[in-house]
């Protein structure tokens, strides 16, 4: 209480300083939430890739944005040494055009032949309705985010690429790629992929042979890298991707990206810290005589130091709380707006909140260190003489 009274002695200045900190914390929370979401997406990918090899056409990732493979390859791959089981999947972008600006999780259509069952460890569970079966023509099961974009519900219909599909189920939230995916049968997905092909090749491709990627499950004890190289050697024009390669291709660039994001946020917070130093220095100067009186009536240097440190820490705390509240609000608002477009960009995690607040308080305290030290080391007699 006393600390607050001192801080708000100069209301405008206190407000501006706190505002400076809260802008920094706001930036940290919002940008951090973006980084957290991306990290989680990639971690989801890591989980998906764990323990298996994914075969794409050359240049593709996770079955999207690649030239189609042929169904006949399934048997070829399954005969390769070290391969235990192969499952075919078919995927496409939900909308024909990629969004001009795309970040995070892009809405997709996904289908698989059901051969992965019992081998796949990355299993998405059903929240409502039932899972999709191979025979569910013109039916779909929806990821937890995409359901909002398509405005679907179990038993209702959604429109995809101009066609109506019945919704049989909605999946649990995974916080990664499947949340933004429409699961349909291979047959339906193959038609969509076929329609997307350039006219020149369309006629030479039979829809029901189209495969976007194969998930390759390995014999126990086989190393993914070894099997992946074997697949690439024996089958033309494919990329066999291992968990390690996925990590190298996706996780490392992401780490650079998140480092840059955090650096920007921290710089804005540092500017806020400078304004705390400024405010506290002015506050100490204005209260020089008061500090003299306090020392005369028995305050030790430590007590004076703690008083001013507490003030700067509380400035950091209030600024931090305001920035957190504002950041969480904006992130939630942006997510709500993004859900309609199937684009949930932010993930506010507890560790982000705790770290941001701790950082704000720590920064406030640190910024108060010099002014507080200066106040504590004032000569009481000179301070008393100060007008």
């Amino acid at each position: 209480m006393r600390v607050l009274r001192n801080i708000f002695r100069r209301k405008l200045r206190a407000f501006l300083t706190i505002f400076g900190i809260s802008i920094g914390v706001f930036a940290l929370v919002v940008m951090g939430a973006l980084a957290e979401k991306l990290t989680l997406l990639v971690d989801g990918g890591m989980k998906y890739y764990a323990g298996k090899v994914v075969v794409n056409g050359e240049g593709g990732i996770m079955g999207v944005g690649t030239a189609p493979l042929k169904k006949s390859m399934l048997r070829e791959i399954e005969h390769i040494e070290g391969v235990r089981r192969v499952s075919a999947a078919c995927g496409a972008l939900l909308d024909e055009e990629l969004p001009a600006v795309s970040m995070g999780n892009i809405p997709t259509i996904q289908a698989e032949d059901g051969r992965a069952k019992g081998y796949e460890t990355f299993v998405v569970t059903v929240a409502e309705g039932r899972d999709l079966k191979n025979t569910d023509l013109r039916k779909v099961a929806l990821g937890s985010d995409i359901v909002k974009k398509l405005n679907g519900h179990v038993g209702g219909f959604v429109e995809i690429r101009g066609e109506r599909y019945e919704v049989v189920g909605i999946y649990d939230k995974t916080l990664t790629a499947p949340d933004n995916a429409v699961m349909m049968t291979m047959e339906d997905a193959q038609k969509i992929v076929h329609d997307d092909l350039p006219d020149a090749v369309k006629d030479s491709v039979v829809p029901d042979t189209i495969v976007s990627s194969f998930a390759v499950y390995l014999e126990p004890g086989e190393r993914p890298e070894v099997v992946a190289r074997r697949i690439e050697r024996e089958i033309d024009n494919v990329d066999a991707q291992t968990p390690v390669e996925f990590e190298r291709q996706v996780k490392q660039p992401l780490q650079i990206f998140t480092s840059v994001i955090y650096a920007i946020a921290l710089i804005s917070l540092l500017v806020g810290g400078l304004s705390v130093i400024n405010t506290m220095t002015m506050s100490v100067a204005e209260r020089t005589r008061e500090i003299g009186v306090r020392k005369a009536i028995g305050a030790s240097n430590g007590q004076i130091m703690r008083q001013f440190l507490a003030e700067s820490a509380v400035i950091g705390l209030i600024g931090g709380l305001a920035g957190l509240a504002f950041g969480v609000l904006i992130a939630a608002g942006a997510n709500a707006a993004g859900e309609v477009a199937g684009n949930v960009l932010f993930l506010v995690t507890n560790r982000l909140l705790v770290a941001s607040l701790a950082f704000a308080v720590g920064l406030g305290t640190l910024s108060g260190l010099y002014p507080a030290y200066h106040a504590a080391s004032l000569n009481p007699v000179e301070a008393l003489r100060y007008e």
Partner: protein, 269 residues
């Protein structure tokens, strides 16, 4: 306190000498503050300095109420600050309550200020963000009292100085005289042996000054607290037991009726 008595030594004209009588009547009377040949130099610029004290010597007896007068720059405030352990001298000795305190570490001096000395300053000398009772309690808290105990003690003292109905007021809501009464209460929180006042009536009108002085006198009489008051105001000084006069950094008249440089019995020191 002691009755004013006629001066016994004409070499110090105009000196007000009640303490002389007290000391003479009781030669064994305890000295609470003894300052011997204090020197203090302030550096103002690179080669510009001021000798605020150049050998100031003075004894203050326990239980007396002494005034220090002197023109601006005579060193009276500096003397009080050093005697009050707020500042340290460049030379000389300071004795407080029978032990030598000059040269003690700053940490120890803080402790001494807390337990043995109370301060009252001129004008702005309360913390503006604290209420009257919090201002008084603060000195107790600094000395290690719990906030609860300090506030209880604070209320008791504010009653004593007649501010029982103003305890929750901020300093800005109190008159100058009321603020100084709060300052007196604050100076008394830790039951000090001596209260030092640096122009405690400096900003007050005549009537209010008199009120503050009589309040300090009442504390002096009832509690036996020693007062050392630096003042410009002759009326304030004359209400004290004796008037110490300083000029150019030395005590030119210690007001006990003996020539400077001799003790109360007239022996050379």
């Amino acid at each position: 306190m002691s009755e004013p008595s006629a001066g016994t030594d004409a070499t110090v004209p105009g000196a007000f000498q009640p303490a002389e009588a007290a000391l003479a009547a009781d030669p064994g009377r305890e000295v609470i503050v003894r300052a011997v040949a204090l020197a203090k130099r302030y550096q103002l610029g690179k080669s510009n300095f001021v000798d605020a004290l150049r050998g100031a010597t003075l004894d203050i007896a326990r239980g007396e109420m002494a005034a220090i007068m002197g023109p601006s720059g005579s060193g009276k405030s500096t003397f009080m600050h050093i005697a009050g352990c707020l500042d340290v001298a460049d030379g000389g000795e300071v004795w407080l309550n029978g032990r030598r305190v000059d040269g003690m570490p700053a940490r120890t001096l803080v402790d001494i200020r807390r337990r043995e000395i109370g301060f009252i300053f001129q004008g702005f000398n309360l913390i503006p963000t604290l209420s009257a009772e919090e201002n008084v309690a603060l000195a107790g808290e600094y000395a290690g009292m719990s906030r609860r105990d300090a506030l209880a003690r604070s209320r008791e003292l504010l009653e004593l100085v007649g501010l029982g109905d103003r305890m929750r007021h901020a300093p800005s809501e109190l008159s100058g005289g009321q603020q100084q009464r709060v300052a007196i209460a604050r100076a008394l929180v830790n039951d000090p042996d001596i209260v030092m006042g640096d122009e405690p009536t400096g900003d007050l009108d005549t009537a209010t000054s008199a009120e503050i002085v009589s309040m300090m006198r009442a504390v002096n009489v009832e509690r036996g607290t020693t007062f050392l008051i630096v003042t410009h105001n002759p009326e304030v000084a004359e209400s004290c037991d004796r008037i110490v006069r300083m000029r150019d950094g030395v005590v030119v008249d210690d007001g006990d009726g003996t020539p400077q440089g001799t003790d109360a019995q007239g022996r050379p020191q």
